[in-house]
Amino acid sequence: MPPLPTMTHSSSFLLPSPSPPAPPTGADAENAVSYAVVVLNQRLPRFAPLLWTRARLRVCADGGANRVFDGMPDLLPGEDPDEVRVRYKPDAIEGDMDSVRPEVKEYYSSLGTQIIDDSHDQDTTDLNKCISFITRNPPGPDNSNLFILVLGALGGRFDHEMGNINVLHRFSNTRIILLSDDSLIFLLPKTHSHEIHIERSVEGPHCGLIPMGAPSSSSSTTGLRWNLDNTSMNFGGLLSTSNIVEEEIVTVTSDSDLIWTISLRKHT
């Protein structure tokens, strides 16, 4: 059986950057990673301004627009709130519009934000709709180097969290990272072997690997304190939780899709 292709992962988007970031040129531009940010309806994490600035496309899922309107000025207390709101204006607000406050919708609409009312579509979650929108309107030339960062995806109502994780599985060919104040998660599809580059200054050491939705009969890792070696994992049995990253690169291969999670450091 031919070896699996390798997929590499890195949380470098969480590193502080010179502002504004210099646009890539030449060959770099073609391979350059582009980011899109989706804001869901939870309190903004402290690194929201950093990720927003880094992104080329910003979408609020319904009440996420309230969070940006209220929360961005709070995260940038030294600055004039009105100026912050204008600077941190979403490109689109999408969803069934039952949570976004009318005056917030009006405000952003008057600034040019696209309002996409999907209330007729009750079959998919707001996040699902936003991911579809972004993949249809990628900020770069195509989706190949697109990373979608989702804020407010974890915590809160559990069914929302499960729905958000299901979006990772449904869009398994798209790089989507779910972020909260204290951890991030993304999917490691079984079709690839994975190299996760650890940014120690912003993430770790606590990590885990979870087979969400189906058992894994064989997973192997390197770079963790308690590595897996053709180990089976399932709910009801073993899960790799409260593990510790020990090396700068963690490798993972598995016969099943796994969720990777790592803690974010307090000052990130």
Partner: protein, 262 residues
């Protein structure tokens, strides 16, 4: 808890009447005895009442810090003596020394399981509860857990405890929702306390896909439906009746939103 037989499968009945103030609990309900386990996360808003109505209170390691620090603010009651857990259990790597000393001096039993690094603090607490419960009382056992959600890997580990002890009634509680396991071995009847829970709910096959799940009492019912991560799972559903029934060929997680809890 009621056990009956429907066709060849036993019925398991669920009710959240433990969330109601004691005055409002149905007169004929079986005594609502539950054991409370407090994990190391910010206490939910309704903790004072949950604490008061418990038959036993166990702090899992750093959960004791939470009671020590946060309970008096929630109750405007400076008297910590009123909130003493019967047991503090776990590997003791989070509880502050002064907190441990205080509760020990007030009579809490300190159950130090630090030699066991294989299982989580919640697993240790549930295991102890089961071990201490006489067999004839086991069918009536109900354990409520606060602080199970938070860092994602902790959350997964705590949910895994529901699977490891699938013959026990264990309910994870947060400010926003409750979560419990619906084992595939039973037909489930979930009685909805609409004054404190709902309408948002969901059902998830997180361990393994379901090829056939059937529900009644939801706005979007499932009828012999397949559910699988990567495809359809039931999120943002709505309870549409006083009673929801669920039958499935897979173990499922049930969640329902909580509200009006004080």
């Amino acid at each position: 808890m009621l056990w009956r037989t429907i066709r060849s499968m036993e019925v398991m009945a669920h009710s959240s009447n433990f969330l109601l103030p004691k005055l409002h609990q149905p007169a004929k309900a079986p005594a609502n005895n539950y054991t409370l386990v407090v994990l190391n996360q910010q206490l939910p808003r309704f903790m004072p009442r949950l604490w008061a109505q418990a038959k036993m209170r166990i702090c899992a390691d750093g959960g004791a810090n939470r009671i020590f620090d946060e309970m008096s603010q929630m109750t405007n009651d400076l008297d910590r003596n009123r909130y003493i857990p019967e047991i503090i259990e776990g590997d003791m790597d989070s509880i502050r020394p002064e907190v441990k000393r205080y509760y020990s001096s007030q009579g809490s039993k300190i159950s130090d399981k630090s030699h066991n690094q294989e299982t989580t603090d919640l697993h240790k607490c549930i295991s102890s509860i089961r071990h201490r419960t006489p067999n004839h009382e086991k069918p009536n056992l109900c354990v409520l857990v606060t602080g199970a959600l938070g860092r994602f890997d902790h959350e997964a580990a705590n949910i895994n405890v529901l699977y490891a002890f699938s013959d026990m009634r264990i309910v994870l509680l947060s400010d926003d929702c409750l979560i419990q396991l619906l084992p595939k071995t039973h037909h489930h009847e979930i009685y909805i306390e609409s004054s404190v829970e709902g309408p948002h709910c969901g059902i998830f096959p997180i361990g393994a896909p379901s090829t056939s799940t059937t529900t009644t009492g939801l706005k979007w019912n499932l009828s012999d439906a397949e559910m699988r991560f990567g495809s359809m799972i039931s999120t943002s559903n709505i309870v549409d009746s006083d009673k929801v029934t669920v039958q499935s060929d897979a173990d499922l997680l049930w969640t329902i939103s909580l509200r009006n809890l004080t």
